[in-house]
């Protein structure tokens, strides 16, 4: 057998695909070192102040609003990841092991939001919160009234992350040998001990991968956050969008570059856990 002949057209097409995928990211990173305040022409590498070429990065770190947005984003991502991982994992266990009335419908209903357009979900959640708060607030004194803010963003992030966690954990559970649990119980381990010492360590890579996915989803969510956020709960995507409406300085590029690094790290870790036996 001879080697299949490589078509130059195929190679060119593949190159083009990768070019369009990565060129924007490369341009974005390059422009974060631009001298010019505008993102139109690259006028050379900035070398200003104590930070030298990293001038815009230093400017960025001194910006209070960026720090606030980053903090909000992290609070939301960490909280929603923790809660959605817990609920999503329990749901995966239940769907994998037990036969119960309405199981098929429960499963379909769980995965449906994943294919629902996000803007529809966002508007839906906003309408739900407004209606709910309108009704609840009418019974509360003025100082205790519920408003949109960190809380509502966290709740909606938990909601959209759960199906993803469940999906990832179920994939891991698929090959799980339930005889290992029987063996543990046979050796005297009550159900909770069996879960903590046998089940959990064995599905941990799946749970971690699910958590990483939930974390990245929350970190760069814009649409649902846009509809459910309120004063003082600006996240990084919302903040960047706000900046774009004025002038796009290399500060935004610097912020985006750092952000890509964070997301890449998390996704990389997630892949690594997923593949680890």
């Amino acid at each position: 057998m001879s080697q299949p002949r490589q078509s130059p057209w195929l190679a060119a097409l593949s190159g083009l695909v990768y070019f369009f995928l990565y060129a924007p990211i490369v341009v974005l990173i390059v422009f974060s070192f631009n001298v010019s305040r505008t993102n139109v022409v690259f006028e050379g590498v900035v070398n200003q102040g104590p930070c030298g070429p990293f001038y815009w990065y230093c400017e960025l770190l001194q910006n209070r609003s960026v720090a606030d947005a980053a903090r909000n984003t992290l609070i939301i991502a960490v909280t929603s990841t923790a809660v959605s991982t817990l609920i999503g994992t329990l749901a995966a266990l239940a769907l994998q092991r037990y036969e119960f009335f309405g199981k098929k419908s429960a499963e379909t209903a769980l995965y449906f939001p994943m294919v629902t357009p996000e803007i529809v979900m966002g508007i839906g959640i906003l309408v739900l919160f407004s209606a709910l708060f309108g009704w609840v607030n009418s019974m509360l004194p003025p100082g205790l009234r519920l408003t949109l803010g960190l809380g509502t963003v966290i709740v909606s992030h938990i909601a959209f992350s759960i199906p993803f966690v469940t999906l990832v954990v179920r994939a891991r559970l698929h090959g799980f040998d339930s005889r290992l649990e029987e063996a543990a119980m046979d050796l005297g381990a009550p159900p909770l001990t069996t879960f903590l010492r046998i089940t959990l360590p064995l599905i941990a890579p799946g749970v971690l991968a699910g958590a990483m996915l939930a974390f990245t989803l929350s970190l760069d969510d814009f649409i649902i956050t846009f509809f459910t956020t309120g004063p003082g709960a600006t996240t990084l995507p919302i903040y960047v969008y706000g900046l774009l409406r004025r002038v796009v300085t290399p500060e935004v590029n610097a912020l985006s570059t750092l952000w890509i690094l964070v997301v890449l790290t998390v996704v990389g870790l997630s892949q690594w856990f997923q593949q680890r036996e």
């Binding site: 040998d177 005889r179 290992l180 029987e182 063996a183 543990a184 119980m185 046979d186 050796l187 005297g188 381990a189 009550p190 001990t193 010492r197 046998i198 360590p201 064995l202």
Partner: protein
């Protein structure tokens, strides 16, 4: 003594079938397994033997009837509170733990002190000849070694009863033979009651003190290897264990535990009764190939059938002959290759007499 090591009293297990119908996997099963006994549950797949074992372990609860361990009714006692341990079919070793941690797991659950855990784990691994492998992972061991880890993990807890679910099924033939003898030896040493599930009749015959032959949820015959092989009490047992020739006929006469059975073609043979029969009953005479002897054609004697050798297969220690009887039925004869047999071996085409002693044949109903 608190009674039997394991006792089943009229135990039923019913499952819901795929179409919503009730399927009985075990039907009114009663067994008594004595302390220190090596007991085998033998039967084809789907006969209910594994379900029975799982009911003793506590993974399944009987739909009806009672399971007693050391005379204590188990009721709904969960597996983790029963004085039994199980060796699983594919060992079910914990992949994320080392061999040492696997073996120590049961003792940790019993809150045994750290030093004693270490000592007993060492002893258990020594017993199964795996000392020094404490830090390995299950995946790094061969199938036979994993099997021995599973044994050590169960035996280290000193259970009153050890349950084994086809423990040798995943091993190759040579290793299986070795492990059979090793298991038997180990059981004698530790003196623990072994309840062993297998579909391999040879395995059951080699190792067990007593065997229960199961089919379709029922224990058809319970007895020693010799009893089950030499005196099967029904056609299924005679057929499932070893090789058997079946001759259909009807009872002509009864005398002192034996029956004279008339076969098609007018010949009659004497055989021992395994079940009560009456004159005129349709019965089957079961006789094993090695209990038959070939003779040159002579004047007809008792328990002698005439036929023609149609095939001959030499297998070293013995020779198999297929003999077509006057009735058209072909039976198998196994003759040992001693000097006399080699000198006057029958050849295909020879007309011969097939003879057997009444005590070696069983009259079975159905």
């Amino acid at each position: 003594m608190a009674g039997y090591a394991v006792e089943l009293r009229a135990v039923w297990k019913r499952f819901l079938g795929p179409a919503g119908e009730t399927v009985a996997a075990v039907k009114e099963l009663s067994l008594q397994i004595a302390d220190g006994e090596f007991f085998a549950l033998l039967g084809p797949s789907g006969c209910g033997k594994t379900t029975t074992l799982r009911m003793v372990a506590g993974f399944e609860l009987p739909s009806d009837g009672e399971v007693l361990i050391q005379g204590k009714p188990m009721g709904k006692t969960p597996p983790y509170q029963r004085p039994v341990n199980t060796v699983f079919q594919n060992y079910a070793l914990f992949p994320h733990m080392t061999i040492g941690e696997n073996v120590a797991f049961g003792l940790q659950m019993q809150k045994v002190g750290r030093q004693e855990v270490q000592r007993r784990v060492g002893d258990a691994l020594e017993m199964v000849r795996l000392s020094g492998l404490e830090r390995r992972r299950p995946k790094q061991l061969s199938g036979g070694q994993q099997q021995r880890v599973a044994l050590a993990r169960a035996l280290v807890n000193r259970p009153q009863v050890l349950l084994l679910d086809e423990p040798l099924g995943a091993l190759d033939l040579k290793l299986r033979k070795e492990m059979q003898l090793e298991l038997k030896k180990l059981q004698r040493e530790v003196g623990i009651t072994f309840v062993f599930v297998t579909h391999d009749q040879e395995e059951a015959l080699t190792m067990s003190d007593r065997i229960a032959v199961m089919d379709a949820g029922v224990a058809l015959q319970v007895g020693s290897a010799t009893q089950i092989y030499e005196q099967p009490n029904c056609r299924f047992v005679a057929d499932f264990i070893g090789e058997t020739n079946f001759l259909e006929g009807s009872v002509q006469q009864l005398q002192g535990g034996q029956a004279l059975v008339e076969l098609p073609g007018g010949l009659s043979v004497w055989a021992s009764m395994a079940q009560p029969v009456a004159v005129g009953n349709p019965v089957t005479v079961a006789v094993r190939p090695e209990k038959l002897t070939l003779r040159p054609l002579e004047a007809p004697l008792a328990n002698q059938l005439q036929g023609q050798v149609v095939d001959q297969v030499y297998i070293g220690t013995d020779t198999y002959y297929s003999v077509r009887l006057a009735s058209g039925q072909t039976i198998r004869v196994r003759e040992q290759n001693n000097l006399a047999a080699l000198r006057q071996g029958a050849q295909p085409g020879d007309t011969v007499c097939v003879q057997f002693v009444a005590e070696t044949a069983s009259v079975l109903t159905g």
